[in-house]
Amino acid sequence: MMTPVTVRAVLDEAVASGLVSADSDVPARAALAQLAQDDLPWYLRVLTGGAAWVAALFLLSLLMGIVAAITGGAVEAAAVLLGLVLMPVGLALSRGRAGEFRRQMALVSVIAGQMCVVGGIGGNASSMVVAAVATIVTSAVLAWLFDEAAYRFMATLAIVGASIAIGIEQHVPGTLGMLAGITGLVPVLVWRAAPTLIARHRLVDPVAWACVVASVGLLSLQAVTDVVFGDHGASTGLRGVVLHTPLPLTLLFAAALVWMATQVARDHGTAPSSPVVLAAIGVVVVVAALTCGLPSVTAALLFIALGFDRRRVGLVGIAAAFLVSALGLYYYSLSLTLFHKSLLLMASGAVCLAAAMFFRQQAREGAGA
């Protein structure tokens, strides 16, 4: 379904276009061999990130123990100072070609330092909101400065978590829904709308992936809340942060899908009024209208399309798994009767299958031409 573009194919086209010299194979191979040694696959990053978090907690306990022993009462102020020392130390350790031990220590030092600063500021102010703001500011600054994908991923999730905390504390209505929408759009903006950002992929890729995870998590949380509480809610506080009506989210994701369809058409020099583009847009509009009560469907379709467009197989896989679980949760949703849900789902399925037949016909005609 998804044929990856190889480095060889890109180099051949670049040579043909005069962008690089014809003898680029040898240095390119050497660079890729070196990269293979330096780069970490995602599961190793998960392991290092998780271990760094746990190590940071132990380091933090050690440092706070020492601080408490020395200062007695003024732990918060000392924690902030300690954090302001640890973070730059971690950044310095990460510069240049660092061995594995140094890289791990850099990650631990930065995370522990940030926790010290956030804890110290929050403790001093005795305010969750102040701690959350400190989290957002420190995470944003460190994500910019600290060239470590695992940290940038975790920092983005920390920013989302802190935003939720602020929303709950301040009783901002629809917090979860707004954040689900924003985090869902970030990957589209970063990977599609702003192609020049590809040059800063080391910064934006982990942020975009974290936003995908956050969006999927928040949409799942909304679905679970709907299943457990339906329209009645549990408490005013909880209902306050959940987006009461899922329609705005569905509209947002559907609009993003339609926009993507027009962008892909533009890239291929196809008019938006061509039958193929109109069919794609039509499917999006009809499915969104039928499943407007379940924004997870349009969100999943958006991520599937984006994953294919940007050749990110992992994104397609995550979106597919998310769609399956969302449909499973929808079965137990209390917002509609089983009968109404069945009609909406069957109609959406029929529309998708009809569109699949249309595109299959188009693919055959294109292959025959």
């Binding site: 379904m1 998804m2 573009v5 190889t6 480095v7 060889r8 890109v10 180099l11 670049a14 962008l19 690089v20 240095p27 390119a28 191979r29 890729l32 061999a33 990269l35 293979a36 780069d39 696959p41 599961y43 190793l44 271990a51 760094a52 746990v54 190590a55 132990f58 050690l62 123990g65 022993a69 031990f101 220590m105 590809i198 040059a199 992929h201 080391r202 892909v264 193929v276 794609a280 499917v283 467009d309 929808y330 079965y331 089983l338 009968f339 069945s342 009609l343 789902l345 069957m346 109609a347 959406s348 399925g349 029929a350 998708c352 299958l353 569109a355 699949a356 595109f359 299959r360 294109g366």
Partner: protein, 331 residues
């Protein structure tokens, strides 16, 4: 995916990271860099988009339709008579199985066989509900697994294989717990399920040597190994860290985990290197070892905290350095 030591690195997928590394090596000017990155990250061709939309909408549409059908019959279930229920489910199974025969090698055929397998389970459940013979539930899952085995073999579809293994796990677990009901049924269940998973992974590795392999997706055995190791790690952590909660199951888990670490570690290091599997194994060792050493180290107070931090950092550094060594098979 990382380029391999034995295949041409230039045949690796053109990610932004790889292209940037190549452009740095070529000292390409800024304008050329942007253009090359744009070539590598542009949208797939029209033909690829049409094929993708046809396949993706087929799968999504089938999923939505199936969910709708399940909801519809759930709503009307009480109103249907016995024969109506059987007829509907049997018709669904037959329709999916017959439709799958139209284009046996296609993705649609595999999805239809998966749907037929799921519906067959629903049919057996309704049968068991209607004619309550007092039979144990393990029989439902066992017969379900037996009946869908031919389809599982024919489909060459990893999700269907995982479903089949889950059914075998359930049948075995329920049989041991409810029929055998031995005093150590929990340990027997654990050992049996782990054995099933190990055999499944080894069977996958063995079929991989066929030309052509019957199943090529690597995510199937990886999911199986991760799902096997995770509960064992959690129980082992309890065994080594919380002695007051230690029992037969936690002790058995520790023993099984040790066996799996040696088995998978040896196989995926020396026979077919797979860094995902080695990472899973290494992660299990780190988790259990750290908890085992943390308990005595914590008694040293603040110095112990420093040692634990250093231990954790050191463990991960060693693992990453080891797994970064030249590979024969990409992760």
């Amino acid at each position: 995916m990382n380029p391999t030591a034995t295949s041409d690195p230039l045949e690796a997928p053109a990610t932004a990271t790889r292209l940037t590394a190549v452009l740095d090596a070529l000292a390409a000017p800024l304008g050329a860099r942007a253009a090359v990155l744009a070539i590598g990250t542009r949208t797939p061709s029209v033909r690829e988009w049409r094929r993708f939309l046809a396949s993706a909408l087929l799968l999504v549409g089938a999923g939505l339709l199936l969910s709708g059908v399940v909801s519809f019959f759930a709503f009307n279930w009480a109103a249907l008579g016995k024969l109506g229920k059987f007829a509907l489910l049997a018709a669904g199974v037959s329709a999916c199985a017959l439709a799958a025969m139209r284009a046996p090698e296609s993705l649609a055929s595999r999805v239809l066989l998966f749907a037929a397998s799921v519906l067959l389970g629903a049919l057996l459940a309704v049968y068991g509900q209607t004619y309550q013979t007092g039979a144990d539930p393990w029989g439902l899952f066992g017969i379900w697994a037996l009946l869908i085995l031919p389809w599982t073999l024919a489909a060459c579809f990893t999700p269907l294989w995982l479903l089949w293994i889950a059914l075998v796990d359930l049948a075995f677990g329920l049989y041991v717990a409810q029929v055998l009901a031995t005093p150590r049924w929990d340990v027997t269940t654990l050992v049996g399920i782990v054995a099933v998973h190990v055999l499944a992974v080894m069977a996958w590795e063995a079929q991989r040597l066929r030309t052509p392999p019957w199943l090529t997706d690597t995510w199937g055995p990886r999911v199986l190994v991760a799902v096997t190791l995770l509960p064992l790690v959690m129980a082992s952590v309890v065994a080594v860290g919380l002695q007051e909660l230690r029992g037969d199951v936690t002790g058995a888990s520790l023993g099984l985990l040790t066996f799996l670490v040696v088995l998978f570690g040896t196989f995926y290091q020396f026979v077919r290197r797979d860094t995902f599997m080695l990472t899973a194994v290494a992660g299990a060792v780190v988790a259990v070892l750290t908890v085992a050493l943390a308990r005595p180290l914590l008694e040293l107070g603040l110095f112990g905290l420093l040692l634990i931090t250093a231990l954790l950092v050191g463990e991960v550094a060693v693992i990453v350095k080891w797994l970064r060594q030249p590979r024969e098979v990409s992760a």
